[in-house]
Each structure stands twice: as C-alpha cells, then as structure tokens.
Symmetry: C2
Subunit: 248 residues, 2 copies
C-alpha cells in the first residue's frame, strides 16, 4: 500500500467462463458468436461468455449470473482458476477494440477473472438447456482462434481441468452411479485427449480402493456383460487422509 497514485488507478473487472461439456464422444466448450462488421468485412468469430462485474457483486456471483443469462443453467459449480491483467490483452487486434466500442464497453484495462466448469451434456440432457441464439457448444479440438486472449484462457482452463482430473475425483460426477470400467476409461480418454492402454488402466484402477466393484453386470448387451463399479466417496476420503503421495 505504498503507491501514491491511487486516483490514477481505474480498472474494470470482468469474469470469463470456460464451460466444458462432456458428452462421452468428445469434450466441448460453450462459446458465444460475435457478428459484426469491421472495415467492410463481416466477422462471425467466437469468444468465451463473460461480462463486467457489477458494483456490489461478488466475483463468483458475477460468473454464475453470466452462465445463467446465456444458458439458463443454475447451480453449476464454477471454479476460479486465474486472474489475468496483461495490459494489452484486449487490444491486440483492431477489430476487437472496434467491437468493444460498438457495444459501449470501456476501453480501459480490464482485469478478468477466469472460471471453468465441467458438465455433462449427454444427449438426454443437452436439449434441456435454454441456450441463447448466439451461444453454442463447439468441440474443443476444433477451436483454433478466439477473440482477445480467450484462446490462452481456454488453453489454461484445459490444463487446469486435466490436472484436476488427475488429482481429484471430479470425473465420477459425469458418470452414472453405476459404471463400467470401459466407461471410466472413455471419460479419461476424452478429457485428457489421449488413448490409454486398457491393461495399464485396469491395473491402476485396481489400486484405487474407492472404485468398488458391485455384484451386478450389464444386461441386454450383445458383448460379454461387463461388471458395474461405483465410486465410494467414503472410502476415497478415508484413504486420502494423511496421504502425501504427489505422483499424480
């Protein structure tokens, strides 16, 4: 608190949300389409959902508000993962600045606080979302360019998500209560963006006391019915206590 130029300081603070949607086939991300004309050219490019934080609004509240306005989704767990205040982050390319002016956005530095979330958008659930017209799911693997520094934010979010998946039992929230080991492996493969060796995978799972086999198998399948497993939160919390193994 040594700075004497307090009155010269004037930041705008925003939130940006990286909402990952998992559908068993691929990992998707929720993006907003911008349609605008700049220099005689029509642009239809993509950005992350976000908004400026309002006065007397908590950061987490602002992120939840943005998500609700765009998707109708409520009570989604949003995890803050970064604050970004690089001075030139909004004006790297001219058309981004032009777009900001066109919507009456301030041109001063905007510090943004980034959130991510991972939700299940399996076919039976996806139609229940009330997505705004310009908001859609896109496969993460197809995204090569976004407005502002949003490509970097998306990339950081993906790294964070993958680290979380390796160190916390977040994956189980995307699975049915009873799941097969093939489903569990598919989940890891889709989110990590890689293929895993089936034998190694099963060996590792056998070392997880909280992935518990139950006395029930698949029914009505043409292949050999696979055994169902459940995730035991109780066993997980018991076994991780006092653990210090950092070899994720």
């Amino acid at each position: 608190m040594k700075d004497n130029n307090h009155n010269a300081l004037n930041f705008h603070v925003s939130v940006d949300c990286v909402i990952f949607g998992f559908d068993f086939g691929k990992l998707n991300v929720l993006l907003l389409e911008r349609n605008f004309n700049y220099g005689g050219i029509e642009y239809n490019d993509l950005k992350l959902p976000g908004d400026l934080v309002r006065k007397d609004e908590d950061l987490d509240t602002a992120a939840s508000r943005v998500l609700k306005e765009l998707t109708g989704l409520e009570n989604i767990y949003l995890k803050q993962f970064a604050a970004i205040g690089t001075p030139n982050r909004l004006n790297r390319i001219d058309r981004d600045m032009e777009w900001l002016r066109s919507i009456g956005h301030p041109e001063e530095v905007v510090v943004t606080v980034a959130y991510y979330s991972l939700i299940n958008i399996d076919q039976d659930k996806i139609d229940k979302f009330g997505l705004q017209a310009n908001t859609r799911w896109h496969p993460v693997a197809d995204i090569t360019e976004l407005a502002f520094d949003h490509m970097e934010i998306l990339s950081d979010a993906l790294t964070t998500l993958r680290t979380e998946l390796r160190s916390n039992p977040i994956g189980f929230e995307l699975l049915p209560a009873k799941f097969t080991l093939s489903q569990l492996q598919k989940l890891y493969e889709v989110i990590l963006g890689t293929n895993l060796d089936k034998r190694n995978f099963r060996k590792k799972v056998s070392n997880m006391p909280y992935v518990v086999p139950i006395n029930e198998k698949e029914k009505g399948v043409s292949h050999k019915p696979a055994r169902y497993f459940i995730f035991s939160k109780k066993v997980y919390e018991k076994t991780r206590k006092n653990s210090f193994d950092f070899s994720v």
Copy 2:
C-alpha cells in the same frame, strides 16, 4: 458483455502476497506490521504485504514488485491462487477503513489477486534478506488475526500449499540436493502441520521411483549414518506421463 452501466463500474485492483518461509523447525509467513492510532488506541496489528496494481502493470509484475520492495527478494516464484472481490472485504471493522483513509487509499471496492510462495529461510540464508523495518517472519501456527480478510487469504494459501505439496514435487526445492529420508519426512510434517508415521512414510517413499537412493551416507554423525537420496526430475517426469492416478 451485456451490462449497460459500464461508466458506473470502477474497481481498484490490488495484489496480496503470502510468502511462506520454511526453516525446518516450522512454517513461517512474512507479515507487515501496521502501527496506527484509532479512537485513542494504539494498534500494532499485522497484514499481508500487498499494493494496488499500477496502470500498465501486469498482475504478476505487481506481485514481484511488492515482494522486492519489502524484502529485497527477486526472482522468487510467486503463484497466483485466488482473486477475491467480496464487496465488503475491506470495511468489516472500522479501524481498517480508518487506516485506509490515513494512507490515502481509495475506499471503493478493491478486487485483490492473491499470490503465494514458499522459500527456504534456513538460518544461513535468512540474514541475507533485506527486510523492511516493519516486515517480519511469523510462525504460521501463532497467527490468529490479521487485518481485513487477510486471515482468510492466509488460510486459503495454506490449503493451496498443502494440496500442491501432495500433488507436485515442490518440496524438493527446499531440501539440499542430497537429503536423508528423515529430512524429507520433517519437511512434510512441518508444511502439513502433522506428524507422520515413520514406517508408513518410508513405505510410500519406496513407491516413488523418482526418490533415488545414492551410494553415500551421512558422515560425522553420532547416530547410525543415514543414506542420502536425490530427487530425479527426469524419472519424475517420465513416470507421471500418461498417469491418471488421482489418489493424492
């Protein structure tokens, strides 16, 4: 970006630094003493080092600047772990607001971005720091109250540090290149704030291929000389690749 009250928005952004100092005996934190009079009472309380972010200054740069000004320390790795913008975070108690006014600090909402760092302050290194007169190391276990919401920020930083210690090889940076298993255990005990069972600890270490015994033992000690180990970053990076075990 749907908000139409852009002109009404006016945030100040600060950084706050939680610098943990590890000295093998205990875990310490670097705090700044505030000396001021409010309502006829002299207050000498403590706060985290921090400052408002300057225009055209990156958040990381601001955190490094604060640390350098207070301690003379440079090139210390600071890790961002949270942004906090709770509307009433600075004015929960009257004397905090009074203090802000006395130093010419704005009274508007300040969104703060919190950083933490863990450094070795073993006796041979601690004297080299150029700490400012009002800046000192305090044992984390002794801190029960801090200004503003800094106690919560400290608590969050400690949780983050402990999670990191369990999931990443950050601890080895605080040890000598050659270390004994007793030293490694002590490090975990000090940072996690708990006692670990020696036999369990050694069993777990034996499952870490990157903690490699070398053909060398302690010398000139009165007890049975212990074997030295090294941390192999190469083995660590090789073994964690494609791993998905989240049981930290």
